[in-house]
């Protein structure tokens, strides 16, 4: 039913995990063979040319991130795969690791070679036990086949990969908090500078990439940057994207679709339209920390730049859709409660500011709010956005800011009616 070219999901079969043999049959580990004949720098340049942007939410260009890495520095260097997928509404990495874990392994070996990393860690969310076992099995298979370990494919390059099961907290998705967690410390984010590339895991240069980002690498090597760019429907975009659909849709599964696909097509064609024939009201386009889109945005191409232009972000492309019967104040309150709970408590605006926003939304949702509370809510968004230590609090303000911007009338209705109008 998916007419678009499948890259990451090309081997995906319901209920099955691709083994090494079938992965190799469809061109698996050819990218690695090719890469090992190139120089590390050539790989970095190729990835830079491909326009691959980080798939974990922030969308930082991967090749540029790699080019900051001191790959020539002596001593240990690490590549860490961030698989702490805890963004509400996001489940793409789980789908990927369920279906085809070797893509990650291959991507990590190539990336490690490009960065000259000496070891790799795959940091997985605590609930992803099935994925952890898949990855561990894939590591064992790859090792037996000579794709991992000492002297990989006779190239002289060596790499060991390790799976780490997270203790499980949202903050662990923040890369420096993740590094603390990996070291067995409390996962508070670290001050930057020094950046992980300078002083990361165990004080050594470290590069952190998302699962989906790394999975793309072997395909880029195999087919070249131009092919990768052309996968996207927008001119400036490149590659496909795993869209995890959820919410009030008829079909809530994960699809691999080209970047730049219109939101309407995602919702109507792939999501199968809104449940019970109701109307589309809004969606979170890329996880709980991305500002809402409304019906007026339905024709927007789902890519990094177009969404930023309307004040939102593509994030992880975990699209959560709300139908016309949904109270957006209640939705936002629910989200902020989550973020307030998951704040690590390190910096003041996040630790003490998020509960305030949560209390304000609670008050308004229960019809106890007044006009001052609305002003205060708007002010607190300003006071928290850009003031916190890491991106958690800023992300938490995404839905709140867009609630104020897009659903002002709905907020006012709560105040005027003295109760939630959707009750």
């Amino acid at each position: 039913m998916n007419d678009y070219p499948q890259v990451l999901f090309k081997n995906r079969l319901p209920g099955e995990t691709v083994t090494l043999r079938s992965y190799e049959k469809t061109g698996g580990y050819q990218g690695l063979r090719k890469a090992l004949k190139m120089s590390p720098n050539e790989i970095c340049e190729l990835v830079k040319d491909s326009g691959l942007r980080g798939r974990g939410g922030a969308g930082f260009p991967t090749g540029i991130k790699w080019s900051f890495f001191p790959s020539k520095a002596p001593g240990e260097k690490y590549l860490v795969c961030n698989g702490d997928e805890m963004e509400p509404g996001t489940y793409k990495d789980r789908q990927l690791l369920r279906a085809d874990p070797h893509q990650l392994i291959e991507g990590m070996v190539i990336a490690s070679y490009a960065l000259q990393a000496t070891a790799g860690y795959i940091f997985l969310r605590y609930a992803y036990e099935e994925c952890a076992q898949n990855v561990e099995r894939a590591i064992a298979e790859a090792k037996a086949a000579g794709y991992l370990g000492e002297n990989i494919l006779g190239s002289g390059f060596a790499l060991s990969l390790h799976v780490h099961r997270s203790a499980g907290r949202y903050i662990l998705g923040e890369e420096t908090a993740l590094l603390n967690g990996l070291e067995g410390k409390r996962p508070n984010p670290r001050a930057k500078p020094p950046f992980p590339a300078q002083r990361g895991l165990f004080g050594k240069p470290t590069n952190v990439n998302n699962v989906e980002t790394l999975a793309n690498v072997s395909h880029i090597i195999n087919h070249g940057p131009v092919w990768f760019q052309e996968l996207a429907l927008t001119i400036e975009g490149s590659g496909t994207k795993l869209f995890g659909l959820s919410g009030h849709l008829n079909r809530t599964t994960c699809f691999e679709l080209p970047l730049g696909i219109p939101l309407r097509e995602v919702v109507e064609t792939y999501g199968g339209g809104i449940r019970q024939g109701r109307a589309f009201k809004a969606c979170l386009p890329g996880g709980a920390s991305t500002p809402y889109l409304t019906a007026e945005h339905l024709d927007l191409p789902m890519d990094f730049n177009p969404l930023e232009e309307v004040g939102s972000r593509i994030g992880t492309a975990g699209v959560t859709v709300f139908d016309e019967t949904t109270c957006m104040v209640a939705v936002t309150r629910n989200l902020v409660q989550f973020f307030a709970r998951e704040s690590c408590g390190f910096c003041t605006p996040c630790r003490d500011g998020l509960p305030m926003v949560s209390w304000l939304l609670d008050k308004i949702e229960h019809g106890l709010g007044n006009h001052d509370d609305l002003c205060l809510l708007a002010k607190q968004v300003q006071n928290i956005t850009g003031r916190s230590f890491c991106a958690l609090a800023e992300g938490a303000m995404g839905p709140v800011e867009s609630l104020l911007r897009l659903f002002e009338q709905e907020l006012k209705d709560h105040i005027q009616k003295g109760q939630c109008p959707f009750l």
């Binding site: 409390r186 390190f346 509960p355 006071n383 003031r387 230590f389």
Partner: protein, 826 residues
């Protein structure tokens, strides 16, 4: 250097500076709460947000952001003030405002910030916490309701102290700072967390409800305990030290203190302090007037000098000026029998270093330690004897990735530091390991041998000390030993640390010479940034050596004096600031000396075991009651300042010595410490360049930051073989005490109240001993009983007992050996 503009002012600072540092440089104060000078950048409180022209769109934390060329920074604007006000409001959501009953009131950072931003109200009906206060221990109280979660306590305990008592627990709004399992605080009680807490969440219990900060008079002085020479700021109210105040602006210690410095001041206020001179009449010590006591002492001493002579034994806690007067007194009496600190332990400096390097002091300074790449510590006890230098070592490791190598017979705090490498040796074999390391450097051609005297003889003498031989003898891995030697030689900057003191008497000269040999081969002495550190146990151990409080000519040293007195060959002993019966090795010998000697004078703070046997007892003043200078273990001369008046009629050692000299006919008089200090310069050339009044807050270091050796002479030394036995006992210092004075201080006593013998779990199991059981320890024909302390620090067959508690009688067993062969039973 980097140029930037802050609020229109041009600043040039080092490229490692942060915006906050740069602003401070030009007198612009950016408000902070979680920032602390000595800790790594943190950036949690968000008070210090500023605008940077080049980073538009968001506010930048000044305390974590490094400066860059051409940066244009604005530190206050309407927007910034609004943000800071909000942060204030956020913090006050759950902060109790119990300022009227909070000891921090008046010097609370949160109070000050609230005052600055004019707000204590907030628009949120927040939840105030109602957490129980932790007051299980007697020294540190924690009230987490007042906590602002700046994390300074967590960080200082980890980054500086290396203990790691605290951590954040829970998440979000419920986040709080807790100890392991959220139980009561049970740590080494150095009180660094008290020093750094910006609010009233962590407070010193002994100071609770004693005074408001502004009622306290602050006097900057030097701690009277160890040779570290930490600046302590006495908090004085009504002629009483009520607390030690935090001050990180002056001194070598950066505001860091250990439990002794922070909570060990209470002995000064102790009610058992001597307040009046005592003279023995009809067998009893009775209180008399000063004049009478001085008269009796003068007559007794001059009669003795006319007989078989007078011996003078001093402690190393007198000021340099007092040592000068004491030497003068010895001249007046006409005796050459003058010595200090038991006469043996300091010979590593006075003889060991002198013969090898031609200097009698450490060659580097403590601040340089932090940038060393490789640090070799001899004995794990170095942290216990000099805790604040230990903290510098910790920072060298954590910040600059220094490699620490510890040659030790037991584990300890040093060996637990990150990446610390422990060469765990059988007790008493440290010297062999140093010799073997020297041999490795010579054999592998890594040694810097240019200009070294005596090289061939030295090489020949080392022939038996192959790493393999020594490994077999000591149990240390030969490869580890070799690699450690290579690391030491390969480092750009390196340091060797060795502490000395009364419990480390055996082979002190030889051990120091072995360390100096190794240092010479590794090119350490005289190289900028590197150093060989021999650190004295007492506050002015180095001063005693600099001023030469040593036997002159044919004069007897401490041990000979005591032996002579015991044999009836010396007629008087004058003991100052020392309790030899409690602390010197071989108590029987000391007791016999005190019993047999015809006349004795003791001058001390308390009626010590030694004083009880004296004919005259002078009440002396503590460090807090006098002016003068101490020279610390890195040659830093610092001003000691009087904070309080002495209790009763107690006088300073200097005043007593002068008065006694006058009674004996010496008419020399000096008007004040400055005059004496100037006079010292005539005898001690290294001191001549300094003016007493110009000794600033960082003190002055004689011989410069890096003391150049005047000689490079290798001295062959060989190790004594410790007697073989099933159990060996070693003594030493415990972290909580220093000498025998701290056993009068309630702070250290609260944590370590009595003597004990420590043994490993394996031995404890074999003996069927549990923590706290009484153990009989017998050796040298004497049996004593000590409480057992069981832990995993000691290898099988080794016992450790700290030497501070005279009443335990440890020195009946310990006669100055490196290791005492003992038997142990329940």
């Amino acid at each position: 250097m980097v140029n930037l503009t802050i609020d229109g002012k041009q600043v040039t600072v080092s490229k490692t500076a942060t915006i906050y540092d740069a602003a401070k440089e030009v007198g612009i104060n950016i408000p902070v709460l979680c920032y602390a000078k000595k800790l790594l950048p943190y950036g949690a409180c968000r008070f210090c947000l500023v605008q940077v022209e080049q980073m538009k769109g968001r506010l930048i934390p000044a305390c974590t952001t490094p400066v860059s060329e051409g940066m244009v920074v604005t530190t206050t604007s309407e927007e910034i003030q609004k943000v800071r006000k909000t942060v204030m409001e956020f913090l006050l959501v759950n902060h109790v405002l119990d300022c009227p009953v909070c000891d921090k009131g008046g010097e609370c950072d949160l109070q000050d910030l609230a005052y600055e931003f004019g707000s204590i109200s907030n628009r949120f009906e927040g939840v105030k916490f109602d957490l129980p206060t932790d007051e299980i221990n007697p020294l540190i109280e924690r009230n987490m309701n007042r906590c602002v979660l700046c994390g300074r306590c967590v960080r200082v305990c980890d980054e500086v102290v290396g203990y790691g008592s605290y951590s954040f627990i829970n998440r979000g709004f419920e986040t709080k700072i807790a100890t392991a399992y959220d139980r009561g605080l049970n740590c080494e009680f150095c009180g660094q967390c008290v020093s750094l807490c910006p609010v009233g969440a962590i407070l010193p219990r002994p100071f609770k409800f004693k005074a408001r900060p502004w009622q306290i008079k602050e006097v900057d002085s030097v701690c009277g305990y160890c040779g570290n020479g930490c600046t302590v700021t006495l908090g004085v109210l009504d002629n009483k030290i009520e607390t030690i105040r935090f001050n990180d602006e002056i001194g070598v210690n950066d505001g860091n203190l250990c439990i002794r410095g922070r909570f060990g001041y209470a002995y000064v206020n102790h009610q058992k302090r001597l307040t009046k001179p005592l003279v023995r009449k009809e067998g009893q010590l009775v209180e008399v007037e000063w004049d009478e006591a001085l008269q009796v002492a003068a007559e007794g001493l001059s009669n003795a000098q006319n007989g078989q002579g007078v011996g003078i034994l001093s402690g190393a806690r007198l000021t340099n000026e007092e040592f000068f007067l004491l030497k003068n007194l010895a001249k007046t009496i006409g005796t050459d029998h003058l010595d200090h600190s038991g006469g043996e332990c300091y010979k590593g400096v006075s003889e060991g270093l002198n013969e090898t390097l031609g200097v009698k002091a450490s060659t580097g300074t403590f601040p340089q330690l932090e940038s060393c790449d490789v640090i070799l510590a001899i004995r794990s006890d170095f942290w216990e004897t000099h805790p604040v230098v230990g903290m510098v070592v910790n920072q060298a490791i954590r910040r600059n990735d220094a490699q620490l190598v510890v040659v030790a017979d037991k584990r300890g705090k040093l060996t637990k530091l990150p990446r610390a490498r422990t060469l765990l040796t059988k007790a008493g074999y440290e010297l062999s390991i140093l010799n073997a390391m020297s041999k490795v450097l010579l054999d592998e051609g890594l040694a810097q041998v240019d200009g070294l005297q005596n090289l061939d003889a030295f090489k020949a003498a080392l022939s038996e000390y192959t790493p393999e031989n020594v490994a077999q003898q000591t149990g240390v891995d030969a490869d580890l030993l070799k690699d450690s030697a290579r690391k030491l030689a390969g480092a750009k900057k390196s340091a060797i640390l060795l502490a000395y003191g009364l419990p480390y008497t055996a082979q002190s000269k030889e051990l120091a010479a072995a360390a100096a040999n190794l240092a010479l081969l590794a090119g350490i002495p005289g190289r900028a940034g590197s150093g060989l550190y021999l650190c004295g146990e007492k506050a002015n151990s180095q001063g005693a050596i600099d001023l030469g409080v040593l036997p002159a000519g044919n004069g007897l040293g401490a041990q000979q004096m005591l032996t002579a007195a015991g044999e009836g060959k010396l007629d008087a002993l004058y003991v100052i600031a020392e309790d030899p019966i409690s602390s010197y090795p071989d108590r029987q010998m000391v007791e016999q000396a005190m019993d047999k000697v015809g006349f004795s004078v003791v001058q001390d703070l308390f009626l010590s075991a030694t004083a009880e046997k004296a004919d005259v007892v002078f009440p002396a003043a503590s460090f807090a009651e006098k002016e003068g200078t101490f020279t610390n273990a890195e040659r830093r001369i610092q001003r000691v300042r009087q904070g309080i008046k002495s209790p009763g009629e107690a006088k300073t050692d200097g005043a007593i010595i002068s008065a006694l000299a006058n009674k004996l006919g010496n008419t020399l008089s000096f008007t004040g410490e400055a005059a004496i200090f100037a006079e010292i310069g005539k005898d001690v050339p290294a001191y001549a360049e300094f003016n007493y009044h110009e000794i600033g807050s960082q003190g002055v270091v004689w011989g410069g930051e890096t003391l150049a050796p005047t000689r490079r002479n290798l001295v062959s030394v060989s190790a004594e073989q410790p007697a073989s036995a099933d159990y060996h006992l070693v003594t030493g210092s415990a972290l909580y005490h220093s000498g025998t004075v701290s056993v009068h201080a309630s702070g250290p006593l609260a944590v370590m109240p009595e003597a004990y013998v420590e043994l490993g779990r394996e031995d404890a199991a074999a003996l069927g001993v549990n923590d706290g059981d009484l153990l009989k320890v017998a050796g040298n024909g004497v049996e004593i009983q000590l409480k057992a302390k069981v832990d995993n620090r000691l290898p099988k067959g080794l016992l450790f007992a700290p030497y501070h508690f005279g009443n335990a009688g440890l020195n009946k067993l310990y006669r100055g050996e490196a290791v005492v062969a003992v038997s142990v039973s329940k």
